[in-house]
């Protein structure tokens, strides 16, 4: 075996999505095990500009946006994770998500997992119940206008997990 070779690509199912059940300052991350198909759109949209002196249509950047969605496979019986999302949607709470390329906490000498952390609000849930397919809810999210009690703005940022 070539022990000095490492794998490059990683699959979606190897990624981990968590929500914060405690506070922004002292978070407690709860894994969303039944999530799948996590999507994130991030960056500035572009806008076309035309004027007499240019033969080409040129572009400028608009505001940067952060939005995404994930699917959640519903579970029969009690499901505290889904309860959290329903309550956050109904109460219009700001929640925090992290999405990493591995577990939040890994054992040394493994490299820490990396990904993003963002305060988000949830949009309209879309639940599909179809024939023999499992019941799945699509949960959309967008970046929240979030501040700490001290007045510091909280936005999307890179997140590095813990090496225990």
């Amino acid at each position: 075996m070539a022990t000095d070779l490492e794998r490059g690509a990683y699959a979606g199912k190897e990624t981990y999505l968590y929500y914060n059940s405690a506070t922004n300052a002292s978070p407690t991350w709860v894994e969303i095990k039944r999530a799948r198909n996590v999507q994130l759109t991030r960056g500035a949209a572009t806008s076309e500009v035309n004027f007499h002196g240019s033969d080409q249509t040129v572009n400028i950047h608009e505001y940067e946006g952060v939005s995404g969605s994930f699917e959640y496979v519903r579970k029969l019986g009690s499901d505290t994770v889904y309860d959290f999302f329903e309550s956050s949607r109904d109460n219009k709470n700001i929640i925090e998500l992290i999405h990493l390329n591995g577990p939040e906490t890994v054992s040394a000498p493994a490299d820490a997992s990396e990904g993003w952390r963002a305060p988000v609000i949830l949009g309209e849930f879309s639940e599909t119940s179809n024939g023999g397919d499992s019941v799945v809810v699509t949960i959309p999210f967008v970046l929240a206008d979030a501040y700490t009690a001290a007045g510091a703005q909280v936005t999307i940022s890179a997140y590095t997990g813990t090496v225990a």
Binding site: A22, S26, V30, T162
Partner: protein
């Protein structure tokens, strides 16, 4: 930094804490099934554990001090009786 801990353990910790910020944090963090593993803020967790252990000490200390008072009373009473 975060530490893996179960919601059950966090709930137990919350029960041993007096009302306040630390107890609130534990209660919030422990929202889930007992066996569910969550990744809690290490610094906050150790503050809670310290607070829980010191609150146990505080509970036991008054009992000892009460005993000491009783002893000192007897000591005072004894010379009085002999006179």
């Amino acid at each position: 930094m975060s530490t893996p801990i179960t919601c059950g353990e966090l709930a137990e910790l919350a029960n041993s804490l007096p009302a306040g910020e630390l107890k609130d944090w534990c209660d919030q963090s422990a929202s889930g099934p007992q066996t569910q593993i969550v990744f809690a803020n290490s610094e906050m967790l150790s503050r809670c554990q310290q607070a829980a252990s010191s609150s146990i000490h505080e509970e036991s200390e008054p009992k000892e001090s009460k005993k000491k008072c009783k002893v000192s009373k007897t000591m005072k009473d004894t010379p009085g009786t002999s006179l």
